[in-house]
Symmetry: C2
């Protein structure tokens, strides 16, 4: 009897199908896990720009998650945009309930503060919104811009990672995709007594949903019990391949091809 | 430069990831097309039962679709549950706008009236909700139960198909999955001057999202210009394989493995 491990996903809907819940469903499926998608916000966007973010009622979100966790074993949680503070609070409560029976439940927090293009994705200030979730995160995965915003006044990547760990996150992955390096993208993993930096060739052009793809792939692998180092390595290999084989649906940002490297 | 044809999808969110927008995104991707997901309703459900259907505000849905069609070429439209009459009306208006520039735009209408388990999926009576959409459908794809409900008082499958064609649908696929046959599932395609019946071995157990998987695969193939007969044949082969390799996430209905048979 075939079974798949599940990832409970809290994420925004991106009607362009590049980022958000589309990226989560496809990347988690590509890792041979199964996404349970709970939508936090209905965004209005194309493959380049975000025009509006409509948060979903926290009561709907809570009820959806409760029905799932009452019947289906949850192997990991992945959080993208949350929409507003009420949703962040509801998600934190659900995770706390799950952690009572599964203290080691992996939680991946992708601190999406803006679209690839720079449009804001939350009603409230991210530091207020994300605070209850940071303390529950197994892995927090900001890009360089997000790390700076989350850790105002802290200059170096190492110090930013330490600050995020002080807030409760066990592992930090700081993604270099939006950095200044011309030819390389450096992703830095920082945790207590361990760490690594991966260097990837920077690919030409811009992509819609690369961060969601990477974070969801990590969650899909952690759901299957992979250790963090292996999950981070394999997820980056997958995400890089998805970008290399990305496709156009219109002028502007390309869509990662998340159908590469399927299965075990 | 790689490009993919797009399918504009109007569909419900199923947090169990079995049916609705998850099925659409995965099946359309598996056909090498790209889904543009617009959510019509946020359902509360697990892999067996539907507990609530929360329609999305028609203004959000309309705005999401407008932003997409202003920038991205649409190669097909797929409609699942619509949530209520206001959403059906908004979807009909969007299709009418698209048809002005693309008179042949394929529209696949999956007349989902209830979950596999029999729970209702719309606030309003389906005949009122679906009327404006039936007239715009290239293909309407009810199962036996839905065909009976849509054509009250009409007994035979052939007469039901004729009635749906009188309402404006060009092609009808009546799916036998919920029929009385023990060993076989017969899917009947009826259209003006053409038609075919496919017989598939009935697989043991129950599935969550088999109808959405089939209809979305058809839409993904029509988006790439495949003729109806070929699209119906290939989509059924794909859907059958997805059911054969389906997996459990909890006791009860299994999830079709939509990651089979990827690529061209």
């Amino acid at each position: 009897m075939r079974t798949r491990h599940t990832v409970l996903v809290f994420s925004g809907l991106d009607p362009s199908g590049g980022a958000g819940i589309s990226a989560d469903i496809e990347a988690i499926g590509a890792m041979s896990a199964h996404a349970l998608p709970v939508v936090t916000a209905l965004t209005v966007q194309d493959n380049d720009n975000v025009f509006a973010v409509n948060p979903v009622d926290a009561n709907i979100l809570r009820r959806q998650a409760e029905v799932l966790i009452d019947k289906i074993a949850i192997s990991a949680v992945k959080i993208g945009i949350v929409g507003n503070r009420a949703n962040a609070q509801a998600i934190a409560e659900i995770i706390s309930r799950l952690r009572k029976r599964q203290p080691d439940l992996p939680v991946v927090l992708d601190t999406v503060l803006a679209s690839g293009h720079g449009d804001a994705l939350s009603e409230d200030h991210p530091n207020h919104t994300l605070r209850p979730l940071l303390g529950l995160a197994t892995l927090v995965a900001p890009n360089l811009i997000e790390a700076e915003r989350l850790c105002e006044g802290i200059q170096t990547v190492e110090a930013q990672a330490q600050a995020l760990m002080s807030s409760g996150a066990k592992h930090v992955l700081i993604k270099g995709g939006h950095g200044a390096e011309d030819h390389d993208v450096v992703n830095r993993w920082i945790t207590e007594g361990e760490g690594h930096a991966w260097t990837w060739q920077r690919l030409p052009g811009a992509f819609h949903g690369s961060g969601c793809t990477l974070a969801s792939a990590v969650a899909g692998l952690l759901a299957q019990g992979r250790p963090m180092r292996e999950a981070l390595t394999r997820a980056q290999q997958y995400a890089h391949k998805a970008l290399e084989t990305s496709y156009h649906i219109a002028p502007g940002q390309r869509i990662p091809n998340r159908h590469v490297g399927m299965g075990e």
